[in-house]
Subunit: 391 residues, 2 copies
């Protein structure tokens, strides 16, 4: 295990009805927030009204900015930054899923950053001031942004989707109320579970030795995600299963499971290119690239893939490691299918003649040395081949 | 799962050599600390010198208070409070195990509390001011105090050992360097592992339903503790095993594993009476009372005990729940024996004619309604019987 430092000061409030306490929880921290959200669903479900009522009852003023879309856009982030500056707002409240929270985080750091916020994502500039605090009320468990120090934003003008991480980007407060997820469409649950699982894959499949505890915790969380998502596929109104899945989604990405391990994030890099260019759902893109990525790299570390196949995918242990690993990957594909997730580029709506070379170049370009890290390092040609294996 | 709120703002720094960075890590937070420690071992191992050197290099002044003993005493806490007040010290640095850290926490809250610090423990008074920040360098992984919001202090004048918890008692900073544990005597490792495991037992054995994720995470951590302690029993110089055990000890007690669950803490209540009166090692006392407690209560919730027996103790699943549970408890006793832990009151040095009635009364007295909570509530007579079953 490698040395590490962990700092996670988010106040994490979990349970039925807790979102109604947002006003009380913010009291003493701020008297005005930017209320940031997506579109019609928060208003249709009554969540918007409940939040506004709670803020008003607590005497907290707000200024609102809706309209966040999946793969949240730099343009709206810029509008949020302007709005906060104009109105003297020093606290952002995100009501939504990962896209809304990521957008809120980008606004929160953009407000205090003197330069161009996008240049933080391209690593041309560094954040030197503390971002505004962000509170979140989660409406879609998937991205883990409610307790992570990361944000991912799409620059529509350039077609780039880039992530940024900073320890001060963990939300100050996050509320997770599982009953809010009962109105989600089935495919959102599947995309979310797929994303959560991949957040663990990116950490779990490593060449770092001496990782017994985080291996075991990761395996426990992966099994729980798969079990609870399968329950929800059959019974979408099971609020207890939503609670388990949502809590697992937070644990999957708050980096407890990644402590002391060299991490990969190559599947995310590969997927971000797909969704930046074709605007496909992140979870759908991951379901396509992950198995192809596993096929391409498992031989570099058969031990960790076999351990996963046995302890997470339920494959019987055997000396024939290749059979064990391949059966594990086959079971993962079957589980994606059970959840109704896409399996190929065609099912994602990405044409055979897409510019996979350019996407591979994009994925590699932001990594040190232009190589994608993991149990085996991948160059641009190998990344392109993974895309092509998904056609 | 029950609703919960979690807030854990400790900066947790883990790895070989990290303790040498204490000065740098404290820079900007304080320019003078109370350096609180135990006895000769920190000086003998060179840790004391390394800490002092790091503080000096960072320009951080200190005033020292050594002499903390196992089952840390109220008297020394009072001396620490006086010292901080006299010297205007606003930061406590604990270099030691759970006893030193608990003593530091009690000092940190005693300094800001206008009343008598002991009355916080007896619940006669409430803490209304924020305690001083506490930093820790851990020298004995066991109590989990490096990332917990709790402290346990013994009032030698009255023979009471009482715990106190407050969310602001989590350390601001904790450093865990596994090589510091290589000089520990074998029995300290065993006591520590036993304590860690029991921190999970107190949370795991619950009647709360819908706890799949924390069940699985708890089982993963329990298995890791048992595996790594068994490795260290054979190979005490295995620094990787110490790293896994120490990290597990933090996870066992920072309450991630207890979120959304009704918790028990009855084994700790029973043990605290033993160590308050007979000054036995906490981990040793737990090894004696835990199996007797399990024997007494498992029938109130055979499901959770059978789940534990199968998934942690490796018992083959069977419809015969009683056999599964009893085999699980037998294997726990065997593991305690493998680690050289005491099994009976006699082995703890507690005589047959000890005043078990008074100890049962003491354990029950601080609980609501005078009853010990858990999968089955225990009254004073039942608590006394558990003690007697350990003779």
């Amino acid at each position: 295990m490698n040395n590490f430092s962990y700092y996670n000061p988010t106040r994490y409030v979990f349970g039925t009805g807790e979102y109604r306490t947002i006003g009380t929880l913010l009291q003493g921290s701020t008297d005005k927030v930017l209320l940031h959200y997506g579109g019609a669903s928060a208003k249709r479900t009554g969540l918007y009204d409940a939040v506004v009522e709670s803020l008003r009852a607590a005497g907290i003023d707000f200024c609102e900015l809706g309209g966040v879309k999946p793969n949240p856009s730099l343009e709206l982030v810029r509008r949020g930054i302007e709005l906060c500056r104009e109105q003297g707002i020093r606290y952002v409240l995100a009501v939504g899923g990962g896209s809304v929270i990521d957008s809120a985080k980008a606004i929160a750091m953009g407000v205090v950053h003197e330069g161009d916020v996008w240049k933080l994502f391209t690593q041309e500039e560094k954040l030197t001031a503390a971002p505004l605090p962000v509170a979140t009320i989660l409406t879609l468990p998937a991205a883990g942004s409610e307790n992570s120090p990361n944000t991912v934003i799409t620059n529509e003008a350039t077609g780039r989707k880039l992530g940024y991480g900073h320890e001060l980007l963990r939300p100050a407060l996050s509320i997770v109320s599982p009953e809010l997820f009962l109105t989600l469409p089935a495919e959102q649950m599947a995309y979310g579970a797929c994303d959560m699982l991949c957040h663990i894959f990116e950490r779990y499949f490593t060449n770092t030795q001496g990782t017994e505890l985080t291996d075991a915790l990761s395996e426990a969380t992966m099994r729980t995600i798969m079990q609870q998502a399968s329950i929800l596929r059959r019974d979408p109104q099971n609020v207890e299963a939503w609670a388990q899945l949502a809590f697992s989604g937070t644990i999957a990405h708050n980096n407890i499971l990644g402590l002391g391990r060299v991490q990969s994030w190559t599947c995310h890099a590969l997927e971000h290119e797909l969704s930046a260019v074709y605007d496909v759902p992140h979870g759908g893109g991951l379901a396509v690239v992950v198995p192809a990525y596993f096929d391409a790299v498992w031989q570099a570390n058969p031990g960790i893939f076999a351990q996963w196949a046995v302890s997470v995918m339920g494959v019987a242990p055997s000396r024939d490691t290749e059979r064990v690993v391949k059966e594990g990957i086959a079971r993962l594909r079957a589980w994606y299918r059970e959840l109704g997730l896409p399996q190929t580029m065609a099912e994602l709506g990405i044409p055979e003649d897409a510019d996979f070379a350019a996407m591979a170049q994009g994925a590699c370009s932001v990594r040190p040395g232009g190589l994608l890290p993991g149990v085996r390092t991948l160059n641009q040609a190998e990344a392109e081949q993974i895309y092509r294996n998904c056609i």
